[in-house]
């Protein structure tokens, strides 16, 4: 049977991808950012997951304003790299796992999460920067990906509580999939940042560090952080953090923290990164 073995969160700042693509990862500015992922790279080479369920948001690349799905799941075999206005990043296309994805889509909808199904999609920095941070610059990504795209562009994004419950449903669905797969769930985006208006550049280190703490110890608090609180405290784009709660919901009741990294700044953003593994195997509370 398929099983969820670990969860990971990371920011997905586009400038990180650009730094790597342009060979600037050893510069004074960028070296400390990439160093925060050294532990993870090493750990990942031993973990070798078969599939990553990668929760991210599209940034006006695959979804225009014509249709704005709140939760969408990619069921394709392959995802080309989006041209975000400066040509596609020079990285391999992303291989999907259609079998698991179709199973997830059906299971989640019947479990009352009304997913939008995507059979064709380009993926942007939201999905590819996390892969680059963890896997570097391979010729082929050594893992298959099931993308889960969450709307955080147009207000309102789904609530943190809804995201957490979707994570729980993802876990139920994965554990009902027959193929023996080592599955990780990644939640991306955040941490505090505001990219727009006179308040651009907002960073809230106290909020971010409390969030990192509570991703491990106090999910009850995080599940009920209101949208207004995210906007005030973590900046208009910090609200992306609701996506981390999908990962956390998929881990079950308790987790062990394996690695944590926090760094300011990467471009306009506070970078946060967490690796956890689930520690309870019994049925989760719903």
């Amino acid at each position: 049977m398929a099983r969820i073995t670990a969860g990971l969160t990371t920011s997905h700042v586009p400038a990180i991808g650009a730094a790597l693509d342009q060979g600037k990862q050893h510069s004074d500015y960028w070296a400390p950012v990439f160093a925060g992922y050294d532990w993870t790279k090493q750990w990942m080479s031993a973990q070798r997951p078969d599939v990553i369920i990668l929760v991210y948001n599209d940034h006006a690349s695959a979804f225009s304003l014509e249709i704005i799905p709140t939760f969408a799941i990619g069921c394709a075999d392959e995802y080309p790299i989006a041209d975000e206005g400066f040509g596609p990043r020079p990285i391999p296309s992303v291989q999907g796992h259609a079998g698991l994805a179709c199973h997830l889509a059906q299971s989640l909808i019947l479990d009352e999460f009304d997913m939008t199904v995507i059979n064709k999609m380009d993926v942007d920095h939201g999905l590819t920067v996390p892969l680059s941070l963890v896997y570097g610059q391979p010729d082929v990504w050594p893992v298959r990906v099931v993308p889960i795209a969450v709307n955080v562009v147009q207000y309102p994004p789904p609530t943190g509580e809804r995201c957490f419950k979707l994570g729980q449903a993802i876990r139920r669905a994965v554990e009902a999939y027959e193929e023996d797969l080592n599955v990780q769930v990644w939640g991306t985006g955040g941490m505090s940042h505001q990219l727009q208006g006179p308040r651009a550049g907002l960073i809230n280190q106290a909020f971010d560090n409390a969030f990192l703490d509570d991703m491990v110890d106090d999910t009850q608090r995080l599940r009920h952080v209101s949208h207004l609180e995210y906007l005030r405290e973590s900046g208009s784009e910090g609200i992306e953090l609701v996506m981390w709660l999908i990962m956390r919901g998929a881990m079950g009741e308790s987790v062990r923290e394996l690695h944590r990294f926090y760094h300011v700044p990467a471009s306009n953003t506070a970078v946060g990164h967490l690796v956890v593994e689930p520690t309870d195997t019994e049925e989760q509370e719903t």
């Binding site: 308040r199 651009a200 960073i203 405290e233 700044p265 306009n268 506070a270």
Partner: protein, 129 residues
């Protein structure tokens, strides 16, 4: 009835609601067209003519020509869509964000290196915190 007036209490911030999405639909769709290299070339060759192909308002058009990102957002633009404009211009997200704050690019970069803009005093206008 939804009440979004609470967002007006957060200084220097525009929340991209369904209403703003409706107002800015064509402006944002224009931005998205810049994901195609051919369209980027046509836009660069004659910005005003390219913009005339889109049913956008005069205020939206002028804001694009002026690269006034705050004005674009006040007229329904969303920053992730507007990012296609500054990508086309070859400008980083940080430079574009700096231009929205009234700070110079160097001042803004220095603020970020020093830990970013503190939330103290910019959480709520009414509550003064």
């Amino acid at each position: 009835m939804v009440d979004n007036s609470q967002f007006d209490d957060i200084p220097g911030t525009i929340v991209f609601t369904a209403e703003r999405s409706h107002e800015g639909f064509h402006l944002n769709q224009f931005c998205m067209s810049l994901m195609k290299p051919g369209n980027r070339e046509r836009f660069k060759a004659n910005e005003a003519a390219y913009l005339d192909e889109w049913p956008i308002t005069e205020a939206q058009k002028q804001a694009v020509l002026d690269r006034d990102y705050n004005a674009m957002m006040a007229n329904g633009g969303n920053v992730y869509f507007l990012a296609k404009i500054f990508a086309t211009d070859g400008i980083s997200f940080q430079s574009a964000a700096a231009s929205m704050t009234g700070m110079s690019e160097a001042e803004y970069a220095e603020m970020m290196l020093a830990g970013g803009r503190s939330p103290d005093g910019v959480r709520s206008i009414k509550e003064g915190r």
